[in-house]
Amino acid sequence: MYYDPFVLPFTIGLTALLLFLIIKYIRWIRTFRKSERRKIRKGIFSLKTLRSIGEIFSECLLHRKIYRTNPFLGYMHTCFGLGWFLLIVAGKTESMVYHTSAVNPPYFAIFFRFFHPAKETFPYSNTFAFITDLLLLFILSGLFLALAKRLWSRIVGMRKTTKHRPLDLLILTTLWLIFPLRFLAESFTSGLRGGGSFLTNNAGEFFARFLPLEQLTYPAWWAYSGVLGLFFILLPFSRYMHIPTEIVYIFLKNWGIKQGTKFNAFSEIQMYACSRCGICIDSCQLNSSLGMDTQPVYFLKKIRHQKEYGHLIENCLLCGRCEASCPVGLTHNALRLAKRPDLSRITKNTYSYAKNAAAPAKMAYFAGCMGQLTPAVTRSMEQLFKQAGVSYTFIDKEGGVCCGRPMLLAGNREEAAVMAEKNRAILKASGAEVLVTSCPICLKMFREEYGLQIRIVHHTEYIDELIREGKLKTVPSEQRTVFHNPCELGRGSGIYQAPENILKSISRKIDTAFDGKKSLCCGGSLANTSIDGKQRNRIAGDAAKAYAAYKPDVLVTACPLCKKTFATASDIPVKDIAEVVAERCRP
């Protein structure tokens, strides 16, 4: 039996950590609803579990998504995640090959070089020594980048990095010390008694020249074990809870657990799964345009550490840019919404004045409140309907009821439900089989909250279909266009291809760095009730400038609210895609 008292800090730390995690996760999952627990039971023995393991490998170890932000940042995380994992696997394998037994205490593999320092050969011993040295070097290179990031975050492509609490900085230091101490302990041992490979062996010979290794080696192993134990003990209280929790989150997510309207145990799991990498900070326009610290990293951090976070609940555009960039794939919009209280005041009677009637037609057109405020858009749509020869009923032409999404985004779900009920009745009266909306905000609401059995499309999709079916004859032009994809259309509803098709067919569409999921928010979002008109205008101005840098003749959007927000902030003309198509249509 191999044993030495210095393994105790490591062993105690690891045991305590594992016990804590098991208790914590079981207690969380026990509060899940029955239907969710059923999902977990069904999911465990299905392909979803395999898919989860794949995702854990690519996101928790490889950190694939971080490479999209910056290759250096990705490499740094790969070093720690994959590097440490492989080091453990290689160490364990080595110990098993040596010991010719599958069961040996965890510390034996970790401190293998202490228990087996000499050049005693066993199958592939040199290969193992080489691999573990290589992996250690790999991790140390990541550590070097991490240090550089703390000092100067821009080299890893981050304009801002997270501001951490003192405890988190302590444990960060603990983590950083683990690998240099392992390096020292193994090098000293090698310098004293041989063994190791190109890294530790050479370093050992080097240290032996001027250091009293006899006195230093044993304390170095104590320090290595101590730091490991300390890291494990501190982990539950620090942001490094994300390491085990992200794994749990990936499983639960793939088994079909979703963030509901309440901030519950699953929300807490998401909260602990946040690694506070800070990638959301740069993606957030409330930071880049207004310098506000309201990003998910700070929001979740404040909730977790019971700090005052009330002022952050409303201060979010729910534009989804952080969600799109989050390497852990947390549902930040739903988390923020779950914290917004339902303060509903209106009742069914509020809308008693509105008729439950609409002219019958196969297709219903809903302009929405913002559509009503942009007559150029609704007019273009009516022109296009006529030119394509489609019969339609404009269900809110003479005034209607709001789709309810602004209320839902404010947390007032009951009010939203009242409005949805009213609009459902109007839609039913029309007998329409297809609903076309001009506003992506309404679109998302109709699709996700109304439970309608009819087809619901945004006018970009509808126009795209009309053009492809040959019902609309467009004339191409040399006009340079840039497309601003509205938050609720692109990231919100996954509509990217239709506007691309349309603009490519009628104009010279210029690709930008803000295409697809990277689209900027106009700042007019209904979801943020915290910022004022001037602050919105600053966000809009910065976004308009970013698009204007590509020198388009016109900035094209597909949301009446975005259009109105940009109208005050943009130096170049802003038009809705419907207007641009209407201008390029042969009658």
Partner: protein
């Protein structure tokens, strides 16, 4: 000693005339091809209905003074101060004017009504701005683009003013009295028409204004409805259908209009920002130039030797603009003859 005045509207012209009368040589820079500025777009002035052209002609005559050099069709691009009290003003034709003092009289620009898309300007042909209505007065015809004579006319106050959504928090101050003046002029041309004003508050700050407001109600049957326009649509007859809340009665109101006049507000002229910026003179958040002190330092700026006159510092009517210009002329003279200058 030479003075450069930027802007040939009423403020710049008046100040040029006063300073020339004091024996200074003046360069007056105007970007348009004639002087008079926004006044050229007006038919009659409130409250006495004096023809605006008379005032412009008066200003023009004054500029015949031999001490004044007029640079029309020329824009001032930037100001530099080479030594304290020595200014160079760069012009769009690449000439540089040297002066001992600079007067900014860059004025204002009218709000672009197209930015309030919900009011339908540029989309519905029966929607015009107050400036365009003045043009109709000049031509003595209120016929719409469809050729008919409007029977129901609505004036919409505060278009581009006191509106958080378009980030204009300020009151443009003149639109209320302008609407009253214009409503009376319309009444005189169309005795049978229905005329409405939709307002938030009636701000009758000048002499004779409140009296004119009363007269409009008592003698001209102009109806005032307190409520802001929410949106406008077009019906089959091409009329503008407006939705307003009558906030005194507390009820929503729908009405069709044959002609809708948008009382466009005043915004800082683009030139104010660039010129003030070129010599680090601060602006108010709404873009107007910030005086050295709002009470005791008007006409003065953060930079000694650079002065302001007229509506480049805030919305101002013609009376106040001319007064402000004379005050600026006196401030400039005081600066040029001050103890450190002699």
């Amino acid at each position: 000693m030479n003075i450069v005045i930027i802007g040939g509207g009423p403020a710049g012209s008046e100040a040029a005339y006063r300073l020339a009368g004091e024996g200074y040589t003046v360069d007056l820079v105007e970007k348009e091809n004639s002087i008079g500025g926004n006044l050229n777009n007006w038919y009659q002035l409130f409250p006495d209905r004096k023809p605006a052209s008379e005032v412009v002609q008066g200003l023009q005559q004054h500029l015949n003074h031999p001490g004044i050099t007029l640079h029309i069709d020329t824009e001032a691009i930037g100001i530099t101060e080479s030594a304290p009290g020595k200014f160079s003003v760069k012009l769009s034709n690449n000439t540089v004017l040297h002066s001992a003092a600079v007067l900014l009289a860059t004025g204002y620009k009218l709000f672009d009504a197209g930015r309030k898309e919900e009011y339908g300007y540029g989309i519905y042909k029966r929607v015009i701005t107050s400036a365009e209505l003045e043009n109709l007065f000049t031509n003595h015809s209120l016929a719409t683009v469809y050729g008919d004579t409007p029977q129901r006319i609505g004036f919409i106050h505060c278009v581009g003013s006191r509106d958080e959504k378009i980030c204009n928090y300020h009151c443009s101050k003149l639109c209320c009295i302008t609407a009253i003046k214009q409503a009376i002029e319309v009444r005189e041309m169309l005795p049978e028409a229905e005329i409405f004003c939709f307002y938030m508050d009636m701000r009758m700050f000048g002499p004779g204004y409140e009296e004119l407001y009363r007269e409009a109600q008592e003698q001209h049957n102009i109806k005032f409805i307190r409520g802001r326009l929410s949106e406008a649509a077009e019906n089959i007859n091409g009329q503008v259908v407006i939705k307003v809340e009558d906030t005194l009665v507390g009820k929503p109101l729908r009405m069709s209009l044959d002609l809708m006049v948008l009382m466009v507000g005043m915004e800082a002229a683009a030139g104010s920002g660039t010129l003030a910026g070129s010599v680090q003179i601060p602006l108010y958040p709404n873009g107007f130039i910030r005086p050295a002190d709002p009470h005791t330092g008007t006409n003065l700026t953060a930079r000694p030797g650079i002065f302001t006159a007229g509506s480049c510092t805030s919305p101002m009517n013609l009376t106040d603009t001319l007064t402000d210009a004379r005050s600026a002329a006196w401030q400039i003279k005081k600066w040029l003859t001050g103890p450190d200058k002699q």
